[in-house]
Symmetry: C2
Subunit: 144 residues, 2 copies
């Protein structure tokens, strides 16, 4: 990688915004009405959710619906209703990012990288470290 050492392990862009909705089928008309383009929902087994990727220009917005009562987002939906769930940021190297953030005193939910959807490697930062915002770090399989 050509990233200078001083910039490693930190976010370098917004990967996606995740929005929890009760029903992708009901929500997609609004998001398409706003002018976003969407494909077809995909089932993500690890989280027991269906995900619809909507593109607002170049920006990826993910609509997430629970696919089972014990899905991690089912509780959020029951407690808060649908809404903004988390921000995911691009990093070059999740392991390095975790090390850097912990050295800087930021609390992590995942203190080691774990597999995400589509071959990505991810880790979640604890919302207590960011003023109440759940944040995901995403390393793409090609390092971008």
């Amino acid at each position: 990688m050509s990233t200078p050492e001083s910039l490693r392990g930190v976010v370098r862009g917004l990967h996606h915004v995740a929005i929890v909705v009760p029903s992708i089928a009901e929500a997609r008309a609004s998001y398409e009405g706003l002018g976003m383009s969407a494909g077809e929902p995909e089932y993500v087994a690890d989280q027991k959710v269906n995900v619809l990727v909507c593109m607002a220009g170049d920006q990826r917005i993910e609509l997430v619906e629970p696919a089972a009562d014990d899905s991690p987002v089912a509780g959020f939906l029951a407690r808060r209703g649908g809404g903004l769930h988390h921000l995911a940021f691009c990093v070059d190297d999740v392991a390095q990012a975790i090390e850097t953030l912990m050295k800087r005193g930021l609390r992590m939910i995942d203190e080691a990288p774990r597999p995400g959807a589509h071959g990505t490697t991810i880790a979640f930062v604890h919302p207590g470290a960011t003023g109440g915002v759940l944040m995901e770090l995403v390393e793409e399989p090609d390092g971008h």
Copy 2:
């Protein structure tokens, strides 16, 4: 403008993500720790808030703290604690966007454009139209 008629009045990118925090002074270390660059907070009189713009690569993230007890975000903070507040999307023409969205059945908070910060023109979409997400439409003074 060179935008085709069929694409007018719709979002063409993410302008910013707004995050409400109890204290910008306390939050900025975490956001800088994540690798975002930040300038100095600015007071936005219309909303009675202070705003700190943080850049995650090219993406603008705005930290918003109430500057008065009757600030529109003070209630959010009291009710929910800090967290994700709204998404703002770029549009070429807010008036046209409002017309298009209302024709498509999306409920608006602002049925007419109003002035935003820094010479922008804005309108808010009702969260009931988007599955619980407050969305702002932003037209930059130069039309971008």
